[in-house]
Subunit: 245 residues, 2 copies
DNA sequence: GAACTTCGTAAACACCGTTCACTGAGATCT
DNA sequence: AGATCTCAGTGAACGGTGTTTACGAAGTTC
């Protein structure tokens, strides 16, 4: 059956348990409550034992953030699974609403992953360079990619993007096209003008901005029910891309 | 001269010193380094003495956040002072760029004030209800108000705001009009349609979204120089409001 | 000057991250 | 099989933390 030795199985098991307890503490009592001693206590071991698994508390938090990203990606994939594969607009709604719902339901996790300075979460080593939130970013790129691949018509150019952005946007365009290609859907590079790429970055700005403001309670006035405002924003974002349904 | 007694003068002085040292620690070593004992050490006193001034570390952090908001408001007021009073567009640029510059120069303060869940920063008592960031919010409302008062033409209605938002937007419209009136500039309520109010909230979403993403390094791809992208966003926001210069 | 208020202290408690020498059980090799 | 090696986990310790408590020493008030 399992090729792994007994020791390896046990190790993997406690490693999972450690992260699970760390997650529990984060969710129920906030980041500062994620304490090596508290985790160890819940597991019935002593704190120094955790150093067999993580270099430091900071290292544990960093890996916890990775876990959270992976779980978020799983959640969003599940949201996507119940949407008709050919209805790209519905996919965008599903992912964006799923992101908001997840953030509101998991504010501590959201704060850890999406509102930590590199100084407080610790800086990733240059060789292990994958950005925190890689898994999550993948989902978004994929949906954005599908949106592009199925694009009915070129985005109406509302304003030319300034020259100084071209270099960065070219890079991002390459990333988007590669993501689409990796899904097996070849796409004509001509179908993705630079201002569409720009619009995608602006969409992320707005999506993230709304969700973070809601999670942190920093809207300029008390909003009774922010959900219609969110949906309205999504509709507008899609409309600006030429999707009118 | 000073009506205050010797004791009152000394108290006010050390209270200022405490917050100054707390601020230093926050800026130079992050939130977790803002330690009662470290503050006391810098001041040459002992940690329990701080309990004569603050109920707890959490209370101190909360008041520190208030200080930061006030200072940010002062900064932005200074940025505003060097702009022609009749050039509202320039005022918007000044405040928004000032906000971004401040956030990038003070990431720890930004994270504390604009990216803390109520759970981690502590919840305000219902009697002392002014939102964290009140001072800062004032500046924005004022500039938004001036923008309204000088509005050259009604915002072209790109899309009607959904019915479900009307109630909340009415409240916010009232706040905006009151803010303008408080500056001595009477304004016709008819000049501020609901979709303009909606657009102002969306502008805050985009401004906050861009700045937070930049501070936390969560843009989907590495951006060489985000400043042109920020300026481009501002130009677009203003253009959507009917300002073309 | 007596009574009262207030700032600051020292000691203590219960936590925390982290290091280190050590034990005992699983894995490996001969 | 037994010897050897690896490694998860321990207990003690160090220096740090927030917070409470009893107490002293000033400033203020009468």
């Amino acid at each position: 059956m399992t090729e792994a030795t007994r020791r390896e199985r046990l190790r993997a098991e406690t490693e999972r348990d450690i992260r699970r307890q760390a997650r529990n503490l984060l969710v129920s009592h906030g980041r500062d409550a994620v304490t090596l001693r508290a985790i160890a206590r819940e597991l019935g071991i002593t704190a120094p034992a955790l150093y067999r698994y993580y270099d430091s508390r900071e290292d544990l938090l960093r890996r916890l953030a990775d876990d959270i990203c992976t779980d978020l990606a799983t959640d969003l994939d599940a949201d996507l699974a119940v949407v008709p594969p050919d209805d790209v607009t519905a996919q965008v709604y599903a992912v964006c609403r799923g992101f908001r719902r997840w953030a509101l339901a998991h504010p501590q996790e959201f704060a850890l992953v999406f509102a930590s300075t590199e100084a407080t979460l610790g800086v990733c080593e240059p060789d292990h360079r994958h950005q925190v939130g890689d898994q999550f970013g993948r989902i978004f790129l994929e949906v954005a990619g599908r949106l592009i691949a199925s694009h009915p018509a070129p985005t109406p150019p509302p304003a030319d993007v300034p020259e100084s952005l071209h270099a960065d946007l070219e890079v991002f365009r390459r990333v988007l096209l590669d993501t689409v290609a990796a899904q097996g859907v070849p796409v004509d590079p001509e179908v993705l003008p630079l201002n569409a790429v720009y619009h995608i970055t602006q969409s992320w700005v707005r999506l993230y901005g709304h969700v973070a403001l809601e999670v942190f309670g920093r809207f300029p006035f008390a909003i009774g029910n922010p959900e219609p405002m969110f949906d309205s924003m999504l509709a507008q974002i899609l409309a600006e891309m030429g999707f009118t349904d």
